[in-house]
Symmetry: C2
Subunit: 98 residues, 2 copies
DNA sequence: ACTCAGTTTAGCGTAATTGCTAATTAGCAG
DNA sequence: CTGCTAATTAGCAATTACGCTAAACTGAGT
């Protein structure tokens, strides 16, 4: 659901999480260490992002590895571009990439 | 502030307003007629969008003409693309696709 | 000034979001 | 099973968002 995506993006901390994940997958603990907020608060932000399918979680033994789901992010960007009027279908992002 | 933009975008009614405005400027009353919500509710959504500078208002006699501010919308889309690592004239682009 | 259509502001109730601490689950090691 | 670490869930208080109705404001016309 698109709504969940934009809602998830509406919090700066969550956008920042995505920015960190952009550089590569990361353990939940690593992510939490980057922020001032408490661990549980962090965990909930991650849950919101996961709910929106903006990130995926993968257990690695004791820890959990998060990685960004670029396709959903692309869809969101696409939706915004669609709002401007430069109409792009579903796959125009590749061309926009250069 | 970028935060206000994403927050404004987080409500479906407001994205729908933008979608309508994409086709051209529109009077506040016209916009309100398209939605089920009450007039004041509509007005507040418009205020939020204006606050985020996603739209601009212009008085025309006793009515108000709203139009979308494409540049802010572009910036938001750009920010999302930046989160992916693509395009956007941004800096670091590491391992993007896999 | 008075009225009217158009629009916003004020005030209220409800629901969602945020962030915390404390408690709990999940997996690994001994 | 016990203990340890990693991460989530539970429960709470405070803040913000939503949508409504009623009231107020704005500009045009009379």
């Amino acid at each position: 659901m698109q709504n969940a995506v934009f809602k998830a993006l509406s919090h700066p901390a969550r956008r920042q999480i995505l920015a960190l994940l952009r550089k590569g997958p990361r353990l939940a603990g690593d992510l939490a260490a980057e922020f001032d907020t408490s661990w549980p608060t962090m965990s909930r932000h991650l849950a919101v992002l996961k709910e929106a399918e903006l990130i995926t979680a993968e257990r690695q033994g004791n820890q959990i590895l998060y990685r960004v789901n670029t396709s959903v992010l692309e869809d969101a960007a696409s939706a915004l571009l669609g709002l401007i009027g430069r109409d792009n279908g579903d796959d125009t992002l590749k061309e926009a990439a250069e």
